[in-house]
């Protein structure tokens, strides 16, 4: 039963996951590859090469949380795409409690998240092994992979929950988020013309402090994403 459900999940997700898996393996490798360039360019000044490796890691580090978010979202959404097609009738007709069905699906998705992390870890590990690192700088593929797992799992859980509802609720929710992101601040600024306190609200700041600062739900996406560090 669980095996079959995992198979179904994989079947629904395998094509969208292909580019994600390629990126999961490739992105950390690219981060390592850039160290070859860095060290090659300025081998006389060790201090400079160290900084350029760190800078490089920081830049590549921006891509990792994005990748984690996308990977988690894909796995979360694909968990439910097949069910939605016929209004969940098949699942509803099965002799299994709804909560159990959801739990097994969630477990299956977690396995897929772990597998993606595994691919990422392979890339990060290989990258650390092959990187040309100056003294004092080392690779943290293990830490990075754990960070990646937790972030991906968070994104997965969020999108899983969202996608499990009706298409209508999901669309409304995503639409609302989109609207906020695109038109939220401009609207507040406009209204600020009439009443100053509204114009003073910075949506970006607000979102940041609510969601990311102080261990907010999305805080996992911030923090240290550097493959190479001191």
């Amino acid at each position: 039963m669980s095996m079959q459900m995992l198979k179904l999940h994989w079947r629904a997700a395998r094509w969208p996951m292909l580019p994600v898996l390629v990126a999961a393996f490739g992105l950390p490798l690219m981060a390592g590859w850039s160290t070859w360039e860095a060290s090659g360019a300025a081998d006389s000044l060790e201090a400079t090469s160290a900084w350029s490796v760190i800078d490089g890691a920081a830049i590549w580090g921006l891509g990792f949380p994005v990748l984690a978010a996308i990977a988690g979202a894909v796995i979360g959404l694909c968990a439910w795409t097949w069910d939605h097609r016929h209004d969940h009738i098949y699942a509803l007709s099965l002799p299994i409690a709804r909560w159990k069905y959801v739990a097994i699906k969630f477990g299956g998705g977690t396995i897929l998240v772990a597998a993606t992390t595994g691919v990422f870890a392979l890339g990060a590990g290989l990258s650390s092994l092959l990187a040309d690192l100056p003294v004092g700088i080392r690779g943290y593929p293990g830490n990075l992979s754990i960070h990646f797992f937790v972030a991906t799992q968070t994104a997965f859980a969020l999108l899983f929950a969202l996608a499990s509802g009706t298409m209508r609720t999901a669309t409304i929710f995503i639409g609302a988020v989109f609207a906020l992101v695109i038109a939220g601040q401009p609207t507040l600024d406009l209204l600020g013309g009439f009443w100053a306190p509204i114009g003073a609200i910075d949506l970006g700041q607000l979102a940041h402090s609510l969601l990311i600062e102080n261990d907010g739900p999305l805080s996992i996406f911030s923090g240290n994403w550097m493959l190479f560090d001191v």
Binding site: Q4, K7, L8, H86, I89, L94
Partner: protein, 306 residues
Amino acid sequence: MIHAIEFDDVTWRAGNDFSIEKLTLRVPQGSIYGFLGPNGAGKSTTIRLMMGMMKPEGGDIRMLGESVPRALPRVLQRVGYVPERPHLFSRLTVKEAIDVHASFHHRWDALWATELLERLDLRPDQQIRRMSKGQTGKLMMLLALAVRPHLLILDEPTDGLDPVIRRDVMTTVLDYVAETDATIFISSHLVHELERFCDWVGVIDRGALITEVPVQEFKRGIKRLRLLNARGIPANGTPFSLLDRIPANGIRSCEEWVVHGWEGPHRALLEEAGVTVQEVVDLDLEEGFVELLKSVRIQNSREDDR
């Protein structure tokens, strides 16, 4: 009598448009129960309530002796269900769909499933989304049967299928029933099909059950009478109920009465009142069903007008 399905005063509402009010229904164990009704009468809704896909607002539902939805999902292990529209994951092959279904059902009979594959002429490697409507219908029936159900709930399983496939599917179902003691609850528009093998019939219209009787009783009791000298004779106070009355005109020299609950001795009663009974015509299940519906609706609209 033990019942496979029991509805007691079940109520369910969907806004102002449609509702099921105090529906009471009894499907005897081991019977083949045909559920008839026009489109929109509530057939599929009743089935969804039975399966626990929707929750009733009032009343009790029991399936195979257990209370629904409390005994769900356990009871569903013994139920085979074929919905109105295809519901399987269409990117799977026949074999994959079988494997998925088998993994959820304890009573799955793999040998029987293989036999059914051959009988219903399905190939394991066919992709469901490339299959014709008939083949999908056959697959859904295969899955429902292979769990060795005690109760088969079929929501218009053969509507829209060609006669050859209909035949194959129903033959297989009847074969299963002959071997086990399964109950079949089948809703369909194809009244003539149901007439072949149903022993009970339940008629639903606008969310209410109009009648629930053995098929033979239904057919025996509904007749079309061709009468002479019947003009002016009041029809109330008769032991049978008058469903429709068509006066004589031109071509039709006789007045026609469609009655329900007709029995042989009633003929004498009419003749005593001076009416000549020219002919008593038997109606088949479909004609009877149509006449019954017509009369119920006329009656309802009269009540609404009052």
